[in-house]
């Protein structure tokens, strides 16, 4: 039996479909708009790609581990509002507020993971419940503390300058002024890829997602892995929420609602299977990149923004069909 050639090995990689998709989408917009491919344009569309990408990577890790987190979107709102309320209503140093928000996020992540592993119920349902509760809490607690539905004045809190430097500053690279979130996104993608492919924990994630019973039988701590994965998405939501709070200095109570499906779509475009056990963090990042390019490519082409969702849906279908075709071809040709 001949060893699979380099092309076959390339084709089986989960991120290939997303890479091809990203190149095609980039070419599509870049050919038609000079601004889109200019340094400023690139910096512009990398921005939504980065905040989406950080969440997509964490959600992809969780999906590889076999679970969904529908509360991921609203949790970015919860953490952003926590930062805002603690800093402005309780008048704490911004870093205290950020620390409290992290604890809140990790607690919710732990709750999600614990409920899923304890009850054995589908994570879809458990996190749907958490999502609805957080949606209500975001609105109710914000109104309780501020009498309005927005928390503002975050830039008045002590410690804002350093927080701004870390979460919301701009970096000049190759003539483009990138937001620092892009660099964090690349760092988290690299970190997640290293964890998935080079550490024992990564093996546990693939095993738990592939077949949890078999994994446990060979000694993989499936329960702890699952809880850790939920806490990871929560921590990612904390990072994105803090970035929003520091950047916008004002947070609306309905932030993040609806985004959870987009994270899942980005992860699926990147090659993650809904059934778990297969996928990649780089792929999810490429999926987020496709989203970012589309979101701002449409205004650059002066199209009606209503077409955005149609385009996204078409991209998703194209990507998953292409992924499937390529994998089937690559795996069949191995025999």
């Amino acid at each position: 039996m001949a060893a699979p050639g380099p092309l076959r090995r390339l084709l089986v990689k989960p991120e290939l479909g997303a890479l091809v998709g990203a190149v095609v989408v980039f070419a599509f917009f870049a050919v038609q708009s000079a601004t889109f491919r200019s340094a400023r344009g690139v910096a512009n569309w990398l921005d939504p790609a980065s905040t989406l990408g950080i969440m997509a990577v964490a959600v992809a890790l969780l999906m590889i581990g076999g679970h969904f987190d529908l509360s991921a979107g609203v949790m970015t709102g919860t953490t952003a509002l926590t930062v805002g309320v603690v800093a402005t209503q309780f008048r704490q140093n911004l870093w205290v507020a950020i620390g409290v928000a992290l604890l809140v996020a990790l607690a919710i992540g732990f709750l999600n993971g614990w409920l899923v592993t304890r009850t054995g119920l589908p994570s879809f349902i458990i996190t749907l419940g958490t999502f609805l509760m957080l949606q209500g809490l975001n609105l109710g607690l914000t109104k309780l503390f501020t009498d309005t539905v927005t928390v503002s004045g975050i830039d008045d809190a002590p410690g804002y300058a350093v927080a701004e430097w870390i979460f919301a500053s701009r970096v000049e690279i190759l003539g483009a002024e990138l937001r620092v979130a892009v660099l964090w996104w690349l760092l988290f993608t690299a970190l997640a890829t290293w964890v998935l492919l080079r550490t024992r924990f990564g093996n546990w994630v693939f095993a738990t997602g592939g077949d949890e019973v078999a994994a446990r039988n060979v000694g993989v701590p499936a329960r702890r892995t699952t809880i850790a994965l939920f806490m990871t998405t929560a921590a990612a939501a904390w990072f994105v929420g803090t970035t929003l709070a520091v950047r916008l200095t004002s947070v609306q109570a309905n932030t993040g609602i609806g985004q959870e499906l987009i994270y899942i779509v980005a992860a699926v475009i990147g090659g993650c299977l809904l059934t778990g056990g297969f996928g990649s963090a780089v792929g999810a990042s490429l999926g987020a990149l496709i989203f970012g390019m589309t979101q701002l490519g449409i205004p650059y082409l002066r199209w009606d923004a209503d077409w955005f969702y149609f385009f996204l849906g078409a991209m998703l279908l194209l990507a998953v069909v292409a992924n499937r075709l390529v994998r089937r071809y690559a795996e069949a040709a191995r025999r």
Partner: protein, 327 residues
């Protein structure tokens, strides 16, 4: 095994072919005008970036106003909108990157948009704010504001409600974080001379809004007026009042066909019209005047487009205009 390969190749090639075919249209033509040069109207491009949600009837009229002004004056007007403040900021940045000759922005969440608006002003692009955030407009460097003073409009609504005998009013807020809407409710409270209860709903979930209003009415039978701040919400409020079997009168902000037929049928007592068509049309005119002649309008004060009260007396004339999408 050749079939999947061919399919894949087609899937990749199709969008690229599409891109190649549409290059002629190519919107790489940037306006490139600075505020100082007297630009020819044929070269001007303005960007309108609002916080309207997709398919919101109110913002469709603003869009019609802006695009009609563009047609009438021979100017290219590009309308984009997103309800999320971060994405709205990114759209403003995109407009700045394209070197447009003027930007029209609605400041529903001024803090979140501050950085992007200031960047536009610093890039030499004149900015006009519309609809919300009029009190922060000059601070950000905008050359004018076109809108309705929400407090004044709210007071007008409150006075009208008081005249019709209402005492316990429920004010329905449909956009979280929009200070203008909260100002309307507190203005209404002033005009009415009594406290006004508020109810938060989501414009993107009208059936949910309907049940929320109905349950409020069922839970509190002393509510005798429901004040909605959006025409779509007014329509569901009328249904909610019927669902709850309540006697409350419904008053609305902003017109659409349903509100107009509601007034004609007697289901809605009156509507406060902020004439949002002008909020789309006038800024285009103002930016053209600035680009060609460095004129500003308003003398540092907002250009007010409302409140106009539409009730049973004048609704029939307005009805024809609304069905054309201009009122």
């Amino acid at each position: 095994m050749a079939a999947p390969k061919r399919l894949l190749a087609l899937a990749v090639a199709a969008p690229l072919l599409l891109a190649a075919c549409t290059t002629d249209g190519g919107s790489s033509s940037e306006g490139g005008g600075s505020g100082g040069a007297a630009a020819d109207a044929g070269d001007l491009t303005f960007s309108v970036v609002t916080h309207g949600s997709a398919g919101d009837a109110f913002w469709d009229v603003v869009q019609n106003g802006a695009e009609n002004a563009g047609e009438d004056l021979g100017i290219e007007v590009d309308y984009q909108s997103d309800g999320d403040p971060q994405r709205q900021a990114q759209l403003i940045d995109a407009a700045v990157n394209q070197d447009v000759d003027g930007i029209v922005v609605s400041l529903a969440n001024p803090d979140a948009l501050e950085e992007s608006v200031r960047a536009a002003v610093e890039a030499g692009i004149p900015v006009i704010t519309i609809n919300s955030g009029g009190d922060r407009s000059a601070e950000f460097g905008a050359i004018g504001h076109v809108g309705q003073d929400e407090a004044i409009a709210g007071r007008g609504a409150g006075e009208q409600l008081a005249e019709s005998g209402a005492t316990n009013v429920l004010c329905v807020i449909h956009e979280a974080g929009n200070i203008g809407l909260e100002q309307r409710c507190s203005g209404a409270s002033e005009g009415l001379g009594a406290e006004v209860a508020t109810l938060q709903v989501d414009i993107n979930d009208l059936p949910g809004a309907q049940s929320a209003i109905a349950s409020q009415l069922q839970g509190n039978a002393s509510v005798d007026a429901v004040l909605t701040l959006n025409s779509a919400v007014a329509a569901v409020a009328v249904e909610a009042v019927a669902d709850a079997g309540s006697e409350a009168q419904v008053a609305a902000f902003d017109l659409n066909e349903d509100v107009i037929s509601g007034i004609q049928a007697g289901d809605i007592a009156f509507a406060v019209d902020q004439q949002q068509y002008e909020q789309g049309y006038l800024p285009v005119v103002m930016l053209k005047l600035y680009a060609e002649n460095l004129n500003t309008v308003g003398g540092g004060q907002p250009v007010l487009t409302g409140p106009g009260i539409v009730d049973a007396d004048n609704v029939d004339e307005i009805a024809d205009l609304a069905s054309a999408g201009t009122r």
